[in-house]
């Protein structure tokens, strides 16, 4: 990027809010995925006005722009695939308003997900979307990717919890859609913008719903000898229309890795476990717990344990949510997949995932949101070994193709990003893309905003995945 443009950015934002040296930029070339792409400058706005100014400057000089929260995304959504300017929202991290009576919070996009819960929990409220990265990921990132989490099963992904947005369009216009009211009464623009992966606008302010903490919570740990018994349990729970607040599954191999790391009390000799949480009024929770335990027993659970207190409950969840860190100790890198299948097909799907893993000669762990059919196979590999990396990518693609072929979807909560752009053709027709492109170009006509995401670019996966460094892309084809 030309020195003069960097100076212009520094004039706008102050020198401490602009990074342009290679050694600084390298920190922003990756996220939680296996993709890489380096921006040419990283800027830290502190207000919506800053964002408007940055966007106008980028437009003037024809640079790509990409928004970024904490960089915990798992699909390359916040990577600068088109080079250009990365707008990092970390310093727009203020909670602007908390309105308990109407159960709303107004926040800047850089507010960390769990910080909002911390700010309201004294009054018995919380922010429902709970990605595993909730202690570091930002609400702006959650909104862009429409993030989920374990409790999505009962409470829905991020879009069910957002009522208003302030945004900056790629031409630098500041707009407001929705507000605190729960219904749009015209087109549900919030519904469109949430989950648009930063391709339609940069989000500068968010009005979110606050949820009330339930009266009673019960956390069960069902332990099985085999993976099949656990998946059959989930299939039957769904068939009997029992919907817990969360229903997570961990296979035996992954469990050992977690136990070595956090000592959560998971049995090291089991084939798999289900972590099931039930919430609601005390009588409903008690009734559901009995039903769930019966189903677990019917599918040969070796043991069904109830967390005795909050401490034990938190420990079990810590085990679940730090799994990716635990696995980081076992291989130089891991690739977390995200795909969805119809829940009735869970047993066969998991068998197939394990088979594909064996076929490619790589270790595949499974720790995922079983209750809503959201698989997260985790492929361990060494990125320095190019052949191994390619096998990992090939295996993951095979898994995703299989999931779509049995009526599933490409992504349940991580987004399409760079990672799955080429796979979009598995689910969408030319007519679908034509409409998506028309909507895209109504909001982002020059394609400067987050180029190279969602839309297939007609490149082989290997090619786009292994490339690093700045590159320029125009409007998606």
């Amino acid at each position: 990027m030309h020195r003069a443009i960097i100076r212009e950015l520094e004039r706008l934002l102050g020198a401490r809010n602009v990074l342009s040296r290679a050694e600084d930029l390298v920190l922003y070339e990756y996220d939680g995925s296996v993709e890489k792409a380096r921006p040419e400058a990283v800027v830290f706005p502190s207000s919506s006005a800053d964002v408007v100014a940055i966007v106008k400057l980028a437009v003037k000089h024809d640079f790509a722009i990409v928004g970024r929260g904490a960089g915990t995304g798992l699909s390359g959504g916040a990577l600068a695939r088109g080079g250009g300017i990365m707008v990092a929202f970390g310093r727009m991290n203020r909670i602007l308003e908390i309105d308990f009576e109407n159960r709303r919070a107004v926040v800047q996009p850089g507010v960390v997900n769990f910080d909002l819960t911390r700010a309201v929990e004294h009054a018995g409220f919380y922010f429902a979307p709970d990605p595993s990265s909730q202690k570091s990921c930002t609400i702006g990132g959650n909104v862009s990717e429409n993030s989920g989490g374990p409790h999505t099963l009962a409470y829905g992904v991020t879009s069910s919890h957002i009522t208003g947005l302030e945004l900056v369009l790629p031409d630098g216009e500041l707009k407001r859609i929705g507000g605190k009211l729960s219904d749009p009464l015209a087109y549900d623009l919030c519904g469109l913008l949430v989950g648009s992966e930063g391709t339609l606008a940069l989000i500068t302010e968010i009005t979110a719903k606050l949820s009330k903490k339930p009266e009673a919570i019960k956390t069960l740990l069902a332990v099985y000898e085999t993976v099949d018994d656990a998946t059959e349990t989930v299939r039957e729970l769904t068939a009997r229309a029992i919907t817990p607040a969360a229903c997570e599954m961990v296979d035996g191999w992954t469990l050992c890795a977690i136990e070595d790391y956090v000592h959560a009390g998971f049995p090291r000799d089991s084939g798999s476990v289900l972590l099931i949480e039930i919430e609601g009024v005390a009588e409903a929770v008690a009734g559901q717990a009995v039903e769930i335990e019966q189903v677990c027993q019917a599918h040969h659970a070796r043991e069904v344990r109830t967390a005795r207190d909050d401490k034990e409950r938190e420990l079990l969840w810590k085990g679940r949510k730090t799994a990716f860190g635990a696995l980081g100790r076992l291989a130089p890198s891991n690739y977390v997949l995200d795909a969805v299948i119809p829940r009735s097909k869970l047993p066969q799907a998991l068998r197939r995932v394990l088979e594909i893993g064996r076929g490619c000669g790589l270790q595949v762990g499974n720790i995922f949101h079983a209750g809503d059919g959201n698989l997260h196979p985790l492929v361990l590999f060494d990125p320095r070994d190019k052949a191994q990396f390619e096998r990992a990518v090939k295996a993951s693609e095979e898994i995703v193709r299989y999931c779509v072929s049995i009526g599933g979807a490409l992504t349940g909560e991580h987004g399409v990003g760079m990672e799955k752009a080429e796979l979009m053709t598995l689910m969408f027709s030319e007519a679908d893309f034509a409409l998506m492109r028309r909507v895209h170009s109504q909001f982002n006509p020059t394609g400067l905003l987050n180029p190279g995401k969602i839309f297939p670019m007609g490149k082989g996966c290997g090619e786009t995945r292994v490339r690093t460094g700045p590159m320029h892309f125009g409007v998606p084809a």
Partner: protein
Amino acid sequence: MSALAASAAAVKLENAVGEAFVRTQTSVLEEYAIDGVTPKILVRPASADETASVVRIAADEKLGVIPSGARSAMGVGMPPTAYDVALDMTRVTGIANYDPGDLTVSVNAGMPLRELARTLGEKNQFLPLAVPQFEKATVGGAIATGLDSPLRQFYGTPRDFLIGAEFVDGTGALAKSGGRVVKNVTGYDFHKLLSGSLGTLAVITRLNFRTYPVPPSRRGLLASFPDETRALGFGKAIAASALTPIVLEVVSPECAAILFRKEAPFASLRTAKMEWTVCVGFEGTEEVCERYARELTRLAREAVAQNAVVVNDPQFAILLEIVREAPVTMRDAAPQAVVMRFTALPSDMADLLRALGSFAGSSWMTPAVLVRAGAVVYVALLPREGEESARRQMEYFWTSVASLRSKLELRGSLVFCPAEWKAALNVWAHVPSDPEMESRVKKAFDPSGVFARGRFVGGM
């Protein structure tokens, strides 16, 4: 017979859907009139592909198309400015896929809600879309019209349970979004835009929903209060408790007089002239329902209810039907009834009701009010028959609402209103949308303006 009937376009349409399903007789077309505007031709496709062909022909021939289901709520919106083709979707019906074991269903747009409910009921499941005209309405019509369900208190709006859609966009292409799994963030969520879009973006051909289990028991509590402040206070007390009811409706005495006109079990509510009634619904096992009944009775007493009675399962089913049909019952209560729908914040509700009451008082009308789920207010104004000044009074009322918008976060539209008043009143006057943002969406979906011109917000 119109010129269109004899044209080349008509022949093309006949080729697309079969001669028997294209009609041009005036008597038939009149049944499809919207606010006095009669279409020139009626087309009844049998499939999504036929629907796409019809839209392509209409786009080529520059004809205005309005899709319809059972036509039970066609009066919603402004009168159309272009209405050549009535596109009747009732033949595109039936269940495309039902996976009870996955709690998902994929249904063609023209399927009546009642039939869908029957199919789901066989597997002890249901869709929480209890909208007015339930006995007639189609699934596609219900989503496109975007009217409320009282069950939203717990189950939310279609944004929470509509998981995918297939539709024909304005270029005549059959497109889709979402899928048939309960969790999915792949691609743009176009199906969310279709909800409440009144047929202005696309013709819905199929909708995918997540379904829910029928609970073991569903009951209610009816409590009466001397004024709206106390009634709303009871609602707030419930919200602050651990309870999560499925229905929470606050009914004004005038509204109760309309809603409980016929049904014997609730006749006493009609006679209680001065009382505000709060209807609470809850569901679950015996133990859960007992807990609700006990605790709600206590909360009602603390909120100084004059009366609180528990309603058992069969009676609650009747009560749910009554509140479900409320907007239509209010419309049918007088020949020139106007039914408005507002969305407001719980904190503003009391101020809003007070202000609306005073506007109505100034125009010598008594409003019938129903507050739904603490978020939506239906208000009916019922002029006396033959009252000549009724339209002017209504105009005064509707204009006065503007003065509230600077004080309260508020949106409002006229759901039902005599067609001849719409030009003066503007149905969408109090929907402060950003027409520029909305029109971007409209242009992308319907670049040449084939669909439902003039009916929606901002003339779209």
